[in-house]
Symmetry: D2
Subunit: 121 residues, 4 copies
């Protein structure tokens, strides 16, 4: 498609990984969650994100404990502090492995590319 002529396959794998991480974070932040429902919410995020262009597979973990639910509502919500994502995009022969995780020393839910690799199959 002409819109992607500016990028190599490697670059587009990186671009699409960025889109999907930004999408996940901003779509699902604020979703009510508890230890009992964390797996169902994570599964929903995985299945939703896997529909996006070039996304091959997505693995989501929402790290909530009973302690997080000791408040008036009895639950917490998906946030940059408890959301962990690892996803793989592919464009042509290139795969990008992207991650989202709260990094304590940065006090920030960082999104980064862990690896970009050539694949053949």
């Amino acid at each position: 498609m002409r819109h992607f002529k500016t990028l190599t396959d490697r670059e587009r794998a990186i671009f699409e990984a960025g889109i999907t991480l930004g999408a996940i974070y901003h779509q699902f932040s604020g979703t009510p969650v508890s230890p009992e429902t964390a797996r169902d919410v994570a599964r929903c995020i995985e299945r939703a994100a896997e529909l996006q262009p070039c996304v091959e597979r997505v693995s989501v973990d929402i790290d909530v404990s009973e302690r997080d639910t000791e408040n008036y509502g009895g639950y917490t919500e998906v946030s940059g502090r408890n959301l962990r994502v690892r996803l793989v995009t592919r464009c042509g022969d290139w795969e990008a492995v992207a991650r989202l995780e709260y990094v304590e020393e940065l006090e920030y839910p960082l999104m980064w590319i862990e690896e970009v690799r050539r694949v053949r199959d």
Copy 2:
């Protein structure tokens, strides 16, 4: 709790139903979805909403067909046009049954209270 002294139980059941419908709509609108993933997304919405105060049970249906996915992305997204919700809140002896559904003649995803009833158990 002093914050709720202004409302009767019946009124609070209605208020909490409103909160949860507004929350569902604005949390999940825009989520990528396809016929294959609609059940998982619906289940996530149900489980998330059931955590909110006074919510007893939530039933969600996302009405997507293959036709909706015939575009570049191959998927569609949760929206006012395909989302249907029925939920029950309870406060004291009162239950409210609330619904969200696209109403064609209004061209609008309407949220309304279908019934408010006294229960005893």
Copy 3:
């Protein structure tokens, strides 16, 4: 409209207030914000929420300080801890005054009805 025959005007003012509070919270949680941009984001929330059915006026405050931006990103995000809303809905002769605010002793961003009153004009 037949959908609202189950509620009195007073009850519907309460219901619509609930919808709008739930909508605001779940639409805007996660929005990047800093002390410099807080007013623009608050204004956007006010103007968006005032479009919803029966909503008369909305006043939003996002309480962010420089301390909140001392992290890798240099900003924070709209959340239950910094968002304060006061809104008025009206249905027929009835007005409801609703609020959203983080309540420390509950460790929870509470949504409640502060007052319901009859008006005439």
Copy 4:
């Protein structure tokens, strides 16, 4: 930062552009909007997105007409069909120009990189 050693500056400008487009779309889809409020909502999106890492400037247009508000609610919402974004990221000597716009022939709100360029200042 060690997390970004896998990418060149050029690639990181592309990655961060992807994150910000995905973030904008999924944060603000569903926001109530009318011709009268479109500019305030667009401004909020611009200011929020400009806080994200490596983002230099963001220009947002929400294309809503009176026709879009001829429904029960009297407003419409931000969606892939009316949202247009152009943003510039910078990392080291590299700038990426990214866009989001609904492409009729794709029936899809496409996100793409329009240009990547070396800058010096």
